[in-house]
């Protein structure tokens, strides 16, 4: 046992062996956590079909790398503690020689760093949010009314012939704004691979926008529990070239029903 008057340590703290060991562990863990965290998550999310989805994937990547040092720090200390002095048995180990009750410097550093990370996350989020918001105001966008009902989605295209489809067709690289509503209960319109979602509320119109940038067939699912067959309330979005889209549009029969009014706005 050292003398009571011996300070906890002498010399520069960063030269201590255990601090160095933890620092090495911290660097390794940061790399591991950051890499595995981003790789596993972005692979699970699959290939994006719009810029909005690319943004989502980027955000998850950024946040994972921003969180990795913090997680690695906690993990390094936890592993260090577990690898250190372990004591088994029914009686406690002797009490610590150095009863550190506080470290104003550690507190300050920790709080400042977490505040900075928080600020960083906020700014990254606001930039991405701004992009999403601007997409709503795009003059070039075509507009589609999305009507949810138990348990199907319908898509109304603007124009006089009242095109109504149960499968969403979209031209590639063409901005589109969805006006979403519901006939009965709350649904949530989720175009999975395009990374957009908005609730369909009865009696209200909500908006979301996207520019599909990949030709193919993608999934639309309802993301809000809406009763008996919620699990089956899903269909497809077919993204095709402008010509194919126009051809499809022309081939659609006039249903005589539309949620579009003269003014072009949804009603």
């Amino acid at each position: 046992m050292p003398d009571t008057n011996t300070p906890y340590f002498t010399g520069q703290w960063w030269k201590r062996k255990d601090v160095k060991r933890h620092a090495v562990l911290w660097v390794i863990l940061t790399a591991l956590i950051g890499y595995i965290g981003t790789e596993v998550q972005t692979r699970a999310m699959g290939a994006p079909a719009s810029e909005a989805m690319e943004n989502v994937i980027n955000l998850i990547r950024i946040f994972t790398w921003a969180a990795a040092p913090v997680a690695a720090f906690v993990a390094a200390i936890a592993i260090g503690a577990l690898m250190g002095n372990r004591h088994y048995g029914d009686n406690p180990p002797p009490e610590a020689e150095h009863a550190i009750t506080n470290s104003p410097r550690a507190n300050a550093v920790w709080i400042v760093i977490s505040a900075l990370l928080c600020l960083f996350a906020l700014i990254a989020g606001l930039i991405a949010l701004q992009k999403d918001n601007e997409a709503l105001l795009d003059n070039q966008a075509i507009r589609v009314n999305v009507v949810g009902q138990q348990w199907a989605w319908n898509y109304d295209y603007p124009g006089s012939n009242g095109v109504r489809s149960e499968v969403l067709h979209l031209p590639v690289d063409q901005p589109v704004v969805f006006h979403v509503t519901s006939k009965d209960v709350k649904h949530s319109f989720w175009v999975v691979q395009m990374g957009i979602k908005i609730d369909a509320n009865p009696g209200e119109f909500t908006e979301t926008a996207v520019t599909p940038n990949k030709i193919g067939t993608f999934d639309i699912r309802c993301a809000e529990l809406c009763g008996l067959l919620h699990a089956y309330m899903q269909n497809k979005v077919i993204v095709e070239s402008k010509e194919d889209f126009d051809k499809w549009m022309a081939s659609q029969p006039n249903t005589g029903e539309t949620t579009w009014t003269e003014e072009g706005a949804a009603a």
């Binding site: 946040f63 200390i77 029914d90 920790w110 977490s114 989020g125 999403d132 691979q193 957009i196």
Partner: protein
């Protein structure tokens, strides 16, 4: 015992004079409740007029169901004896000394657990048992959900029943986790820990427990009249459309909210007013702060929940239109009310569990708690911010897109006080000697699980990322990581830690270790799988899914089965040790807080002479 000094000491052969209270217990309560419910139901059938043409469907049945459930509630509370004391008081009398002693459960043996007993230790044990029952039922429901998701087609459970199982699992697990720390340990341990003889309002304490029992029946009842097919959030207008079982949910929430408010007022008052002499705020254990923060946070939250369900019930039964868009209401109103409760509520669950582990960390590392003040500020910061973040559950609802950015700010700010709690824990671990016990390893498990839960929470707090993740299994995995991975881990550690004081016996070491590892491994397997399918795009609360989600769901199901095995082993350990475990010494962990200074079993009024606190509860090791 000083309180008895004011009264003449009972001579030998003195027969206590106890009025009607002697005859009331849980059986009379169930009996009277059932009879009242039946009478109200019959009267309702006979006298309630048929619906007019204009009234929405089901209104009459809803009225009868709700009235019968209110009848049950009143009958039950009268039958358990909750009304005796208030009634006497109104009559200008009060309970006699003998009656008060009877209510406290003096010399009553096991019978006191089945009565309206005011002793905080009895209430604590009652809470512990009901928490275990709730987790048992909720766990069975979880296994049913996983079984149905064993194959992509789902299928062997009818969708309506499946939705109801999902909703019931959700709400009872929420209730179970709300009471899992502040119920058993907040009632049994907290008063001893602060050096008090009982709670500030012992009768309110008994009331808060029996209200939960009273609340449980409407929920079970609801299962037989159509179930709760709306998920635990019971969004309108879906809830308006749901079958009669929805009334069971509404009554359950209303009664449970009452219980929470009563318990919150009681625990807060106890801690503020009844701490031992010398227990300044700086010497008050961190677990006490956690408990008070939790119940104090519930105080503003649960009245809102209560109100939201009253309005939901009125929409169903009385034809009002709070949430009916067609008639001037708004579904968004419900969402707001629900989440104004719903977000503080997750911290109601989390804070006491983390605080319990912070309480144990110094004991098992034999060092002082690192930065006590930071821990207190962390808890206070979470409490303050948590009431300002509710609309992050509504980013994608379309309610107020302009508010998304400010709510993103408040939500991300909460990571600062949460980080403080991490700092306190890792600071305490730094260079400590670890006494390897289940609570010690639980600290590590909490750091791991809560880190994953916290970081995924940052993705979800971000509006554009949430546009992809909201409503998916990712969210489900995230909140299981926080409420179960962090919350339940803390609660189980608290059980292991305080079991010797509550039962007088040690919890079986080997079994609790096996259970710990099974639960933690199973837990991580289950919810990593769930994160995966969420990222692939599987929505929540579905009973069937596309083939690509097959693998992740299989992993989750295997993990869930492992958790179940671990929890069953824990149950076996608890039952076995309670009956015939090794007798516990007074202070098995050599801890310095007050609850370890009272003998086993803890005497009726805890302390013969009230303690005076003269030193730091975390004064392990030498100062330098």
């Amino acid at each position: 015992m000083t309180t008895m000094m004011e009264h003449p000491a009972p001579t030998s052969g003195h027969t206590p004079r106890v009025g009607i209270i002697r005859h009331l217990n849980v059986f009379t309560a169930f009996g009277l409740g059932a009879i009242t419910a039946f009478v109200v139901w019959r009267l309702g059938l006979s006298f309630l007029p048929a619906d007019s043409e204009s009234a929405p469907l089901f209104t009459r049945e809803d009225k009868i169901t709700l009235l019968s459930m209110i009848g049950w509630f009143v009958g039950f509370m009268a039958g358990i004896g909750a009304l005796v004391a208030p009634f006497r008081w109104v009559m200008g009398k009060d309970l006699s000394h003998d009656e008060n002693m009877f209510l406290a459960g003096k010399d009553m043996g096991t019978k006191r657990y089945f009565r309206y007993t005011t002793d905080h230790k009895v209430v604590g044990i009652q809470y512990l048992i009901i928490t275990m029952v709730i987790f048992g039922i909720g766990g069975i429901l979880a296994m049913l959900i996983r079984a149905n998701l064993g194959t992509p087609e789902g299928g062997w459970i009818h969708p309506q029943a499946y939705n109801s199982i999902v909703g019931t699992h959700g709400i009872i697990m929420i209730v179970g986790t709300i009471i899992m720390v502040t119920g058993p340990f907040g009632n049994y341990i907290m008063p001893i820990m602060i050096g008090a003889r009982d709670m500030a309002f012992p009768r309110l304490n008994a009331l808060s427990f029996w209200l939960i029992v009273a609340a449980a029946i409407p929920l079970i009842w609801g299962q037989f009249i159509g179930g709760i097919s709306t998920g635990w959030s019971a969004y309108n207008p879906l809830a308006g459309q749901a079958p009669l079982g929805m009334n069971g949910y509404i009554m359950f929430i209303c009664i449970f909210a009452l219980s929470t408010m009563v318990a919150g007022a009681n625990i807060t008052t106890t801690v503020v007013r009844m701490r031992a002499r010398g227990m300044t705020w700086n010497r008050t254990p961190i677990f006490i702060y956690g408990t008070v923060a939790s119940v104090a946070l519930a105080l503003p939250a649960f009245p809102v929940f209560f109100l939201s369900q009253v309005m939901s019930g009125m929409d169903r039964a009385l034809g009002t239109s709070f949430y009916d868009t067609a008639r001037g209401g708004s579904g968004w109103l419900y969402e707001n009310l629900f989440w104004i409760m719903g977000h503080p509520e997750v911290y109601v669950i989390l804070i006491p569990a983390v605080a319990a582990l912070m309480e144990m960390a110094p004991v098992f590392t034999r060092r002082p708690l690192f930065s006590f003040n930071v821990a207190v500020m962390g808890i206070a910061g979470i409490c303050g911010l948590s009431v300002l973040v509710w609309a992050h559950h509504m980013y994608m609802s379309g309610w107020a897109p302009l508010l998304n950015a400010p709510f993103m700010l408040t939500t991300e700010l909460i990571s600062i006080p949460t980080g403080m709690l991490f700092l306190v824990l890792v600071g305490t671990l730094w260079r400590g000697r670890l006494w390897m016990t289940v609570p010690t390893m639980s600290i590590f498990a909490l750091l791991w699980n809560f880190m994953i839960g916290g970081v995924t929470g940052i993705y979800l707090s971000d509006v554009p990322a949430d546009a992809f993740l909201h409503g998916s299994m990712y969210v489900t995995a995230h909140f299981h990581y926080t409420l179960m991975g962090a919350g339940l881990t803390g609660a189980i550690a608290a059980l292991v830690y305080w079991f010797p004081k509550m039962t007088g016996r040690m919890l079986d070491k080997k079994l609790s270790w096996v259970s710990f590892w099974l639960v933690q491994i199973g837990f991580n397997v289950a919810f990593i799988g769930m994160f995966f399918v969420g990222l692939q795009g599987q929505p929540r609360r579905v009973e069937a899914y596309a083939a690509i989600f097959n693998k992740g769901n299989l992993i989750t199901t295997i993990g869930a089965a492992t958790i179940m095995t671990g929890m069953l082993i824990l149950l076996a350990a608890v039952i076995g040790s309670w009956r015939s475990g090794v007798k516990a010494p007074m202070n098995p962990w050599y801890a310095k807080s007050l609850e370890w200074t009272v003998p086993n079993p803890v005497p009726l009024e805890n302390f013969e002479t009230l303690p005076v606190v003269t030193e730091d509860v975390y004064g392990y090791g030498r100062k330098n």
